[in-house]
């Protein structure tokens, strides 16, 4: 396959966006299904090329493919910016994740979004998001990566606020945009600091400079921290995690694609992409590991008490992203990215399952569900598979990657290892709590305005879920015997075998902890050996603290936004703006307008005068040349 074709991976969804926005939406508004088909065809094409790209990189032993680049801006002797693609093992894996999950979500959306008046708009944004995400993954320099980084942020904003007539959705969109922007500021500062110290934006060159030690010391640490702060915003890590739970206001397939599998993982990808910068700074690595490890347990603890199924999944996502960061900070690219790879499939599946449940009951509140196991067998089965995978039960996908993170953290950060182990327990508990509340027991009537009996979703929604369920089982097998690690250039392909893994103490321990969590959830929410109400009474203050999410929303909104910013800083700025800035601008404007009137006086329309001016002009030039020149 000629390598130019790799450009299509990114261009196909972009074309799909253009076609839907400028052809289908204005002229074929009565045929909404066309928008969905266009998106699926484009992303399907991207997926096929991505598979070829993966094999090509494998054949190239994980090294980057030579892809011809485009001269974007070229000024001889001055600025020259090239648009190029970096397709190595990391990119190839990400391409598969993004195109495959996106494809499944688009198919699912055909059913979920059916009849929505914004159908074309939905698929246009989805196409644009997929294009931006693929551009972000493929970019070979930090400038374009940043452009697409902002692009996915914009699409996230547009899609969270897709139902913009709901104030909660509009507010959530705004919150997501502003909070991530805080992190982006650090990212941009990091990029600029890098450029001023190295003179390049090229990722491969930066790798080389970091590995040879050309950039090092304090500068490297600060650059790495700057880049990491971008990742903290995008991947909803503590303390910028507050936007992701609110982002659940968007359509559920959007949550599955953007806020579970791909965009939120972009932060993890960013750290992996610039990993040599981190690897050569102890401080940066430790920061990544600590933030990741703390976020993992912090978010999981909130997930224990949420009653909205999407919020459970949202906190679970934050927690798992923390896991990936922990993997990156203690182990390396291969370990963090392998968890990203597995997580994308089962977490997307969990969200699609939540959407399917919502499709049937009209609510996301688990207290109004229950008993859906019999009426929604496919949703139930796939949801359980994904949950087992997430909990880390052998031999499902989550087991393999979680185990590696635990092993690497035990090696370098034992304290974080214990936090991670507790998180394993919490994860298993809150997932099975959700399963028993949603699918077990008796049906509790759904949404107050619900219509009739719940029923299984149509095949167009179920089939993608089944495919993702298969992937949630098998995707972890890639690293049996260390194959994935070897592909990513990490280790020589040695790892525990499919069965022999259970003879090692650590995997066995984590498996036991996960099963303990499941059993406890069963005891409380299914068998009712322990009463949930009594437990809540026992841990009253703790429960309140978790249910209020450690009061972070209140802290940010009241203390930072209202008191410090609105009444302090912004009020001062406004004074400055009215008095100084406006005053200057108005003065300049008045002067210019007066000048314009004066010039107008000369333009009388009289030909003789015009001729005279030409004559005077020539004379003036000649005189000045002869006497000054």
């Amino acid at each position: 396959m000629p390598h130019q074709l790799l450009w299509l991976i990114f261009l196909l969804p972009l074309f799909s966006f253009i076609i839907i926005s400028f052809v289908l939406r204005p002229f074929f508004n009565d045929k909404p299904q066309l928008g969905g088909y266009t998106t699926i065809a484009a992303i399907g094409g991207s997926f096929v090329i991505s598979v070829f790209a993966l094999f090509a990189v494998m054949a190239n032993e994980g090294h980057a493919l030579p892809v011809p680049d485009i001269e974007w801006v070229l000024i001889e002797g001055g600025l020259s910016i090239h648009l190029g693609l970096l397709v190595d093992s990391l990119t190839a894996v990400m391409l598969i994740v993004v195109t495959l999950v996106s494809l499944m979500v688009q198919i699912y959306s055909q059913g979920y979004m059916h009849g929505d008046p914004g159908y074309h708009r939905y698929f246009a944004f989805m196409s644009l998001f997929t294009a931006s995400m693929l551009g972000l993954v493929l970019a070979d320099n930090l400038v374009f990566m940043f452009v697409f980084w902002e692009g996915v942020g914009l699409c996230s904003y547009l899609l969270i606020g897709f139902w913009f007539h709901k104030p909660s959705a509009a507010n959530a969109a705004k919150k997501a945009f502003i909070v991530t922007r805080l992190g982006d500021f650090g990212f941009l500062a990091g990029i600029l600091a890098l450029y001023f110290n190295t003179g390049t934006f090229d990722i491969a060159e930066l790798h080389h400079l970091a590995i040879t030690g050309a950039i090092s010391g304090t500068i490297l640490t600060w650059v790495a921290i700057g880049i990491f702060s971008g990742a903290v915003g995008k991947s909803a890590q503590f303390p910028l995690h507050v936007w992701l739970p609110d982002a659940m206001e968007g359509p559920t397939p959007v949550s599955a694609l953007i806020h579970a599998a791909t965009m939120v993982a972009a932060g993890v990808f960013l750290v992996a992409r610039t990993f040599p910068l981190f690897a050569h700074s102890m401080e940066a690595m430790t920061t990544v590991a600590i933030i990741g490890g703390f976020t993992a347990i912090f978010a999981a603890s909130i997930g224990l008490v949420m009653t909205d199924i999407k919020r459970v999944l949202a906190y679970s996502t934050i927690s798992q992203l923390g896991y990936m960061m922990l993997g990156l900070g203690t182990g390396g690219v291969a370990i963090g990215i392998f968890h990203l790879f597995n997580h994308a499939f089962f977490k997307a599946l969990l969200f699609l399952g939540a959407g399917s449940v919502n499709h049937a009951t009209g609510t996301f509140d688990m207290r109004q569900m229950g008993g859906l196991r019999k009426v929604m067998p496919w949703t139930y089965a796939t949801f359980v598979i994904a949950s087992l995978s997430l909990a880390g039960v052998w031999p499902l996908a989550g087991f393999w990657s979680k185990d590696e993170i635990l092993a690497s953290s035990l090696e370098s950060q034992p304290i974080l290892f214990y936090l991670a182990l507790i998180t394993v327990f919490m994860t298993a508990f809150y997932m099975f709590r959700a399963i028993f509340m949603t699918f077990g027991g008796e049906y509790r009537g759904g949404a107050p305005e619900a219509h009739g009996h719940p029923h299984e979703s149509p095949p167009v929604m179920v089939v993608p879920m089944v495919i993702l369920a298969v992937l949630s089982v098998v995707s972890g097998f890639w690293n049996v015997g260390g194959q994935f690690d070897a592909f990513m250039g990490h280790g020589g392909g040695h790892g525990p075998g499919f069965f022999t893994v259970l003879t090692h103490p650590l995997p066995l321990l984590s498996l036991m902890v996960a099963i303990l969590g499941i059993v406890l959830a069963y005891a409380v929410y299914s068998a009712k050996w322990l009463s949930a109400e009594k437990l809540r009474g026992m841990f009253g203050p703790l429960h309140t603290m978790l249910a209020r999410k450690y009061w972070f929303d209140e802290l940010y909104e009241d203390v930072f936004v209202r008191t410090s910013m609105l009444n302090g800083f912004f009020a001062g700025l406004q004074q400055f703006d009215t008095n100084v800035v406006d005053g200057t601008v108005n003065g300049v404007a008045d002067g210019t307008i007066a000048g314009g009137r004066a010039v107008r006086q000369i333009q009388t329309g009289q030909l003789q005068l015009y001729g005279l001016f030409i004559g005077i002009g020539i004379l003036a030039i000649i005189l000045s040349v002869l006497f000054l020149g």
């Binding site: 001889e76 010039v599 001729g611 030409i614």
Partner: protein, 486 residues
Amino acid sequence: MHLGLILPELTLLVFAIAVILVDLVTQKKEVLVWVSLFGIVISAGFTLGMWGWGSYAIFNNQMAVDSFAIFFKLLFLGIAALVILASVDYTAKFANFRGEYHALVLLAALGMMLMAATTSLISIYIAIELTSISLYILVGLLKDAKSTEASLKYLLLGAVASAVMLYGMALVFGFTGEVGLGEIARVVQGMSLATLLASPAFMVGIVLMIAGFGFKMAAIPFHMWVPDVYEGAPTPITAYLSVASKAAGFALVLRVFYSAFGFPDWLSLNWGIIFAVLSAIGMTVGNVAAIPQTNIKRMLGYSSVAQAGYLLVGVATVGLSAAADVVGRSSVLFFLASYALTNMGAFIAIIAISDKLKSDQISDYSGMGKRAPLLALGLTLCLISLIGMPPAAGFMAKFYIFSGAVQHGLLWLVIIAVINSVISAYYYLRVVKVMWLGEPASAEKVPSSGALKLALALSCFGVLLLGILPGIVMRLAEIAAKMFGF
């Protein structure tokens, strides 16, 4: 003979004659549009075919066929095609002269193509006259009071400019004894600096030639005709004047000053400074004078004076860097391509809107965002490009031309240019504001024909392409900037 190398020009001539002949025999005047467009396409095909063949001097060194000329020929043909598309409806205003109109548009294009290729003072003069005479007639074609007045003013001032230029050419010929640009350069380089300094006549000759070219470029102080003529002329011809005629002037200036007066450094520095000063005054006067305008065609007239000022920043860079660097010339070429698409787009939208409103007043554009959203969107994009904001072509063009100037010590001029860009935002954005935020005078939609929409879409596509992926055209401009003999 080198007839093969002037096939594009011959084709255009043949089709110009064919248009007149067809006009005699047919009642369906739409055919004339097709014949003209067909001629342009064939001519463009021949021109394109010559790209990359190398450079040739033909007709006893009167003309050059090089990448520089080809770049401009393609530009002129493209503009002529857009002008013809944009006037499909407009020509109803002079139904009896449709044949002449199309033939003259083609002949003017032919003249401009020659202007870009000529390499001797004599052929330069002939090419300018061929262009000018066609345009004088086209400006007066509406035959109403304003149009006639505009045509007469243009003719008389044009004659003055021609006379001044001829005088300058005569002085240069008298000093060097040559008319070919290459030969002039050889003679000048053979002289000592002392001889040059002791010969004011030569410098005066050069200044007088600047005056002649300055008239075409609408550079200050030879710009006085611009607002009056722009306002009175048929709008497609205003567009033609503001874009193609100006570009032809710049093509001439680049070739003449670079080929004939590019050495020694003392000389090029001198005219570089002249152009720098003209540029600074030109953009300031153009922008300031545009602010109080209420007629959109007049406003764009002053805007075109200001844009000529920006372009002269690039010409001044050529003077200050001489042969050292290609960036001055290539940035002017890129700016011209971007400006051509942008200004054509703006005028096409104005043709479509004003023709229906029967008014050129900016206040009548109120609420156009509701009455004609696509036209308003296209016009907005073009105005944004004229300000020089991304993602439109104008941003890249200004960035390119200014960064070249900064590299060659013209920081002061770039500062003036940037301040001017800010001032210009005021009057460009005022139109945008009126269109989108103003209340529509009536709820009635403003329809437009398919040809106009196509022309506008092509322009806007070009504006976006050059703004988002400028690398392709920058590369072409850099190749084209390497002229015959260098």
